[in-house]
């Protein structure tokens, strides 16, 4: 029996979603481990190295610990909102991955599985290639604000509320610069589609980091602020707000916030790699044999993403936190004008 191409495509999409979710969650787990090890090493310590070889089973131990913790909901909390707030952060962070191209097109040769004849099919290593990819990403990052704001508000605690309010102000301010910094790329590519943006960076010198260095800087800073990472983690700054918006959360709900934070870090790193560092395009692609080129590209993409994840941790343990007025001043008085200037200069450059 020959499988209908429509069903086949659906099945492939499901397989891709499964693989992607698996990879993202594993990366999240090991990112927490990497954060602890790198932060320790920057401070001349060793970090967790006891659970399993080199401490590699530490994320597993953390997960088990989280599951056995008491789930506490404050009596005065709005229970419904309190329960859905973590999901409201986690789901948009995961949805961003749908449009990120991990590699080029691959052709799966025809084969037979349990008596089903499966025809040869070509598919790209991307779950869906939306023609409004960038807009979709910006939309998803905006939704994450709701999770933080509602999580902070529903707990009915002054610290969480302050954290939530700070976060919404901060994320809305930096979203502008984030969006405007990409505009230069959109002008050069002429498309919002992620695959087109990657295709526009086919050769090494075409990478947008060389054509839009200022945009990259703005994008990185704004992305750090969007993810509430240091030096912009005023949302959860321990010294002032206990734990910020997640002060009242415990057990798996708390870990969902953590997973969401790390998942959005991975998404932002993947975006930096895709938008400015050629996505899955690598230098010297021609030198790699035709059979291995896709593997080389995917590995290259993962390495690029991994570097930005390391950058996140590296920056966190290097730079002190901004004061709230400084944060707002940088967002509105520096990054936003710079992003607008970048758009203007890109326009002039395209005309000349």
């Amino acid at each position: 029996m020959i499988v209908d191409p429509m069903i086949l495509e659906g099945a492939i999409a499901l397989v891709k979603i499964g693989i992607l979710l698996g990879v993202v969650f594993t990366t999240v787990a090991y990112l927490t481990f990497m954060e602890r090890r790198v932060s320790a090493m920057i401070q001349d310590r060793l970090g967790p190295n006891r659970v399993g070889p080199l401490g590699l089973l530490q994320p597993l131990a953390d997960g088990i610990k989280f599951m056995w913790k008491e789930e506490f909901i404050p009596a005065s909390a709005d229970r419904t909102l309190f329960a859905i707030a973590p999901a409201l952060i986690l789901v948009p962070a995961l949805l961003i991955f749908a449009v990120i191209p991990v590699g080029g097109e691959v052709t799966i040769p025809a084969f037979t599985l349990f008596g089903l004849q499966i025809q040869e099919i070509t598919t790209s290593l991307q779950i869906i290639d939306l023609n409004v990819g960038i807009l979709y990403i910006l939309g998803m990052t905006s939704i994450a604000v709701y999770g933080i704001a509602l999580g902070g508000w529903s707990a009915n605690n002054k610290f969480t509320l302050l954290g939530g309010i700070r976060s919404s102000a901060q994320m809305i301010s930096y979203e502008l610069s984030l969006g405007l910094s990409i505009v230069g790329i959109l002008m050069l590519t002429g498309s919002l589609q992620m695959s087109r943006i990657v295709d526009a960076q086919g050769t090494f010198l075409d990478w947008f980091i060389f054509r839009q260095p200022l945009a990259f800087l703005i994008f990185v800073i704004a992305a750090f602020a969007e993810n509430n990472r240091l030096p912009f983690d005023l949302v959860e700054c321990e010294q002032e707000l206990v734990g910020g918006f997640h002060t009242e959360y415990s057990s798996m709900r708390f870990s969902m916030f953590m997973i969401a934070e790390y998942a959005s870090m991975i998404a932002a790193s993947a975006l930096m790699a895709t938008l400015f560092f050629g996505g899955w395009h690598m230098p010297f692609e021609d030198l790699v044999g035709p059979g291995l080129v896709t593997l080389y590209q995917v590995a290259g993409f993962l390495v690029k993403t991994g570097f930005f994840l390391f950058l996140y941790i590296w920056v966190r343990w290097s730079l002190p936190r901004f004061r709230y007025d400084q944060l707002m001043a940088i967002g509105w008085k520096v990054l936003l004008p710079l992003a607008l200037l970048n758009v203007v200069f890109t326009g002039i450059w395209m005309l000349v």
């Binding site: 090493m41 401070q43 001349d44 060793l46 590296w314 920056v315 343990w317 290097s318 730079l319």
Partner: protein, 191 residues
């Protein structure tokens, strides 16, 4: 009158902050590869200085008997009141009393070492044993046998608190009354 301090105008490079940011990040990067200060505790143990005030022990004499004579000087000296001694008579010809029970509550103890200083017989001592771990409070009350076992465990340790104190006592304490020269000096008595 308020003193006005003119703040120095920052240069453009300083106001950009990026050079400073990069400098700071390079600094942390070098630390990433530096030698780590963490000591892998159970495998690697710290060498403690002589006279370290760790877990107590009850010393034994040459005949492997308890040295303590249950005079309770240590219990009196103890500021935390963590030592409980009950004496009993003994058949041994060199002393009248030995402790029947000798308990140190390690949870009360403040490890000041005053019991060791007070002991006239050098019977109580402090060692570099720092493995003071238990799962119940009762286990943390060390009885006579536990303290004697600690002596066996740390028999070879050089520089216990008692040994260090004995050395310094020779150097610093004034001679006792019977060792003083007779009043009037070496010239002898005058009548």
């Amino acid at each position: 009158m308020a003193i006005v301090v003119e703040a120095r105008k920052m240069t453009l490079a300083e106001r950009l902050y990026l050079p400073a940011v990069i400098k700071g990040m390079l600094l942390t990067l070098t630390h990433l590869f530096k030698k780590k200060v963490t000591m892998q505790y159970p495998e690697v143990q710290k060498v403690l200085p002589p006279g370290y005030r760790g877990a107590h022990r009850l010393n034994k004499d040459e005949q492997d008997r308890i040295k303590c004579v249950a005079c309770e000087m240590c219990a009196v000296a103890c500021p935390a009141d963590c030592i409980t001694i009950e004496g009993t008579e003994t058949e041994w010809d060199d002393r009248e009393k030995i402790p029947r029970t000798f308990q140190i509550d390690m949870l009360r103890c403040i490890f000041c070492g005053m019991c060791v200083e007070a002991c006239p017989e050098d019977a109580i001592d402090m060692t570099d044993n720092i493995d003071l771990v238990a799962t119940t409070r009762e286990e943390m009350i060390w009885d006579r046998d536990r303290l004697l076992k600690n002596y066996d465990d740390t028999r070879n340790q050089e520089g216990t608190l008692g040994q260090v104190l004995r050395k310094s006592r020779k150097a610093f304490t004034r001679p006792r009354g019977d060792q003083l020269p007779a009043p009037g000096g070496p010239g002898g008595h005058t009548h």
